[in-house]
Symmetry: C2
Subunit: 214 residues, 2 copies
């Protein structure tokens, strides 16, 4: 449906992903139309922001009853997703890796975690939550075999940097990095460094400042 | 040491948290001094950015050998942390909640998860990873008793909004929200909405665009 090759700004993509989930919930509740200010209110932003985001992706079918929920969901789907589902791999199948796998694969997304990698003898060669776990030495081979395009890095921070070369060599296109080590890749590989500790320290800092000022 | 009550910008706080972890690693390796451009390189940013961030927090003791690693760690600590350690609670002790608890409590941060809340009979009244798990109905009472200031929300998205009032009433100061429902709180409560799905969809989108353009 949508045929936009110029990347849309990151923040807009984040909001589209959030709108989509809200719209899916509305759709499940039998709501067929929604006004921009209602959608905006559910996200704590302005209606102008919502309209600007939707204008940016070329969605313009506003009606007197507001946006058609189903039509808008399909339109955002066309922007966010490829026709083919994307395969993902988790590197590091510890507690966090397992939590992430269960979390994503239960969400009904058009992306699925289809393989895991670890070095732990207890895990390698077994299936964990229906996902086969391979030794990290097999990474490049399996990524090609299984047509995996996104790697989720959830192993101990100290081991993270050893993965940069295998990820490049395997032809991985996108990386979601949950370790505390920011990973740098050459252009062409999309990386989101997603360090939970940083977020927590940020919250703690602003709590501290608020306390000091109260 | 530091006595700054005007909030420092969010992005600077994030970078300070990251510098601190890098510096701790350097310190553990016996490195006593580091130049701004070396620190910058380890984070994929410019030396100007590093110097500007440190100027903003009032750190100016640059030497011919670069920054003194230990002095800089202590200085950043003084900015980020309270004198007293902060207590945190996890709401929702499923796979994600347990992974988060193990992850944070193994990091040696000046914040600790000291209580968990759930509704599951199998969990309530037990200790999970040495953390007592209480029924969510006891939330307000336990938060006061245990002097908890930060809540980590990791229960199913559908239940997230039921927590807004208990969190306000309990006097929680900061919230780290891992569900897909953005939670809105009155001013005075710091919230980080930290939706993993949004990040993943963002990576997938940019992978798709890169594919389409190649």
């Amino acid at each position: 449906m949508a045929n936009i090759q110029t990347p849309i700004p990151e923040k807009t993509i984040e909001r589209l992903s959030e709108y989509r989930r809200t719209l899916l919930k509305c759709h499940a509740q039998g709501i067929t139309h929604i006004f921009s200010h209602v959608l905006a209110g559910m996200h704590g932003i302005t209606a102008v922001q919502v309209r600007r985001d939707l204008m940016l992706i070329g969605f313009s079918s506003d009606t007197k009853k507001g946006y058609d929920v189903k039509v808008l969901i399909d339109f955002i789907d066309g922007i966010l997703y490829s026709e083919q589902p994307m395969n993902m791999a988790v590197i590091g199948m510890g507690h966090l890796g397992q939590a992430i796998t269960r979390y994503f694969n239960s969400k009904g997304l058009k992306m699925r975690i289809t393989a895991a990698f670890d070095v732990d003898k207890e895990k390698v060669g077994r299936c964990i939550d229906n996902i086969p776990c391979y030794h990290i030495n097999e990474f490049e081979q399996r990524v090609e075999e299984l047509d995996i395009s996104i790697a989720i890095v959830s192993l101990p921070t100290s081991a993270a940097s050893t993965l940069v070369l295998p990820i490049i060599n395997a032809g991985i296109k996108g990386v979601l990095n949950f370790t505390s080590a920011p990973l740098n890749f050459p252009q062409g590989i999309v990386v989101e460094n997603y360090d939970i500790t940083t977020l927590l320290e940020k919250v703690a800092y602003f709590v501290k400042v608020a306390d000091g000022n109260s």
